[in-house]
């Protein structure tokens, strides 16, 4: 289950039209949803509420091994509609899942609002705070959009001063800006707390390429990430393809196309820290299929099954990781990943998958939804007619009926899959560990139950079990 704050951040990005997928850090997002899913660590309860569409609060309680709590306050500039009560929130939005992300677009500026000769639409922002109890750690995040294509993040983690600190010496190079960070001379607490830190990040997205520039104050680490999308034709891409399809004559010979149709992205990452004298680099390529444009044209080849392939290479440590993920049926997606170190020949293979089960509302409401769909489709039929007056009338009718059938079938399929209220995930890795996670909407709560087991160990075959319950009121 996605944590509430992450869900909110995603909904905020969606509301302002920021494409989170077009960054190098999210290059392996599709396969990670199937291979790196998190099992709840213990017994976690989360309660969230949105008193107004721009303000959100949440409590979370972590019961084992010791009782910890956290309280979060979040506010945004944009009203977020997608987060409703957990009874009715679309289940597909609250879980990490395999999906094909749409082609990148250039982010659009905010709509102008004028009042009394001045623009009053303001700037997009999100402010987040989380106070951990009883340790009183505070984590905060401020996100704002500086220009339509540039976004700034400031994240901080503050740790309250321990009561028994020694006075820091003025010669300590860390003391001037990191007096809150953990010093080696400090008396150590029984539970080591994360040191305070400030993270600055700038994200730049133009559609064709995106960049991310980060700085972490605690270790003085700079990071640069870039991603380039090959074959990016701008926002008019879909319309161009559509008009090309339309211009074809009915009896025109179709060039047979085979294989997967998709797009390539390539990116890289460099990070270095002068303070710690460390340096890192990684590069990656991703191929992902293009989601079909609806309605599917009559003469087009069948749409490619949603597939994503990624290849990552770290030249410094010589590690290559390749992942292949595909949706093999409307309810099943699988992924495999193979990583090998070219210097030591150490390798690792992981296989994972998700299976959408449960159909609480899908079947019951399907007939109602289909009935609701009918009138607009008939309307489409009427609207299309004046545009194609010169075409063969029979062909035209056939075309429309095909489109209509295709459309209805697709919508039906879409609803059938999207209305499922449960997903079962499993992954097995080369080291002999098996992880199983079941996420579902039970009554009005979002529940996830998971376990990690280890075949190789006789003493502890089950390494961890966790249960998480979320309730959005």
């Amino acid at each position: 289950m996605i944590p509430f704050s992450t869900l909110l951040l995603r909904s905020y990005y969606q509301a302002i039209g920021w494409n989170q997928d077009n960054t190098y850090s999210n290059l392996t997002r599709s396969s990670a949803a199937l291979l790196d899913f998190q099992i709840p660590q213990s017994l976690v309860l989360q309660l969230a509420n949105n008193p107004t569409p721009i303000f959100f609060t949440s409590y979370s309680l972590d019961a084992l091994p010791q009782l910890n709590g956290a309280i979060s306050y979040i506010t945004t500039s944009e009203a977020i509609q997608g987060i409703g009560p957990s009874k009715s929130i679309p289940f597909r939005d609250v879980v990490e899942r395999f999906r094909i992300y749409p082609p990148p677009r250039k982010p659009l500026p905010k709509d102008e609002i004028w009042l009394g000769g001045r623009r009053i639409e303001g700037r997009d922002y999100l402010l987040y705070s989380r106070l951990h109890l009883p340790s009183l750690h505070l984590s905060g995040l401020a996100v704002t959009r500086l220009t339509p294509t540039l976004q700034a993040h400031l994240a901080f983690l503050s740790q309250p001063q321990p009561r028994t600190t020694r006075p820091t010496s003025p010669n300590n190079p860390y003391s001037h800006s990191h007096s809150h960070s953990r010093q080696p001379s400090e008396v150590s607490n029984p539970v080591p707390a994360p040191p305070g830190n400030v993270l600055l990040s700038l994200q730049h997205d133009t559609g064709r390429y995106s960049g991310e520039y980060t700085y972490s104050a605690q270790d003085g680490m700079f990071g640069l990430r870039g991603l380039y999308n090959f074959g990016w034709k701008g926002d008019g891409e879909d319309e161009e393809e559509r008009s090309k399809e339309k211009d074809k004559r009915i009896d025109e010979e179709e060039m047979m196309e085979g294989g997967l149709r998709g797009r390539f992205s390539a990116g890289g990452e460099v990070y270095f820290s002068a303070k710690q004298r460390s340096f890192g680099i990684s590069t990656g390529v991703r191929f992902t299929t293009i989601p079909p444009i609806l309605p599917i044209p009559l003469h087009s080849p069948p749409p490619s099954p949603p597939t994503t392939l990624t290849l990552l290479y770290n030249p410094l440590i010589g590690f290559i990781s390749s992942a292949y993920s595909a949706q093999i049926s409307p309810t099943v997606a699988v992924s495999s990943r193979f990583g090998v170190n070219v210097y030591s020949y150490e390798s690792d293979l992981s296989i994972g998958g998700e299976w959408w089960i449960g159909r609480r509302r899908g079947k019951k409401h399907l007939s109602e939804l289909t009935n609701q769909l009918e009138p607009p489709l008939v309307q489409d039929n009427v609207n299309l007619r004046p545009n194609d007056e010169n075409e063969n009338f029979d062909g035209h009718i056939k075309d429309i009926s095909q489109n209509r059938v295709g459309n209805t079938i697709h919508e039906k399929n879409k609803m059938e899959t999207e209305d499922r209220d449960g997903v079962l995930r499993a992954r097995i890795s080369g080291t002999g560990s098996l992880a199983v996670l079941y996420e579902a909407r039970i009554k009005n709560c979002l529940v996830s139950i998971g376990a990690v087991s280890d075949f190789t160990s006789r003493q502890r075959p089950i390494r961890s079990v966790g249960l998480e319950v979320q309730y959005y009121s």
Partner: protein, 52 residues
């Protein structure tokens, strides 16, 4: 030009105060921004506790 120890100390003290202000004021600031920009404005207790 080398920075004197006194300037350093003053800088550190200012930074410390600033940090305290940010950490203490961050949550009230968020609640205030959320309260100010909401329309209609809910009661403050609703914003502060999710159980209300």
């Amino acid at each position: 030009m080398a920075i004197s120890d006194e300037t350093k100390d003053r800088f550190n003290a200012t930074l410390g105060v600033l940090k305290t202000v940010v950490t203490v004021g961050w949550i009230p600031f968020i609640i205030y921004i959320g309260y100010r920009n909401s329309s209609p404005q809910p009661s403050l207790i609703k914003l502060i506790t999710p159980l209300a």
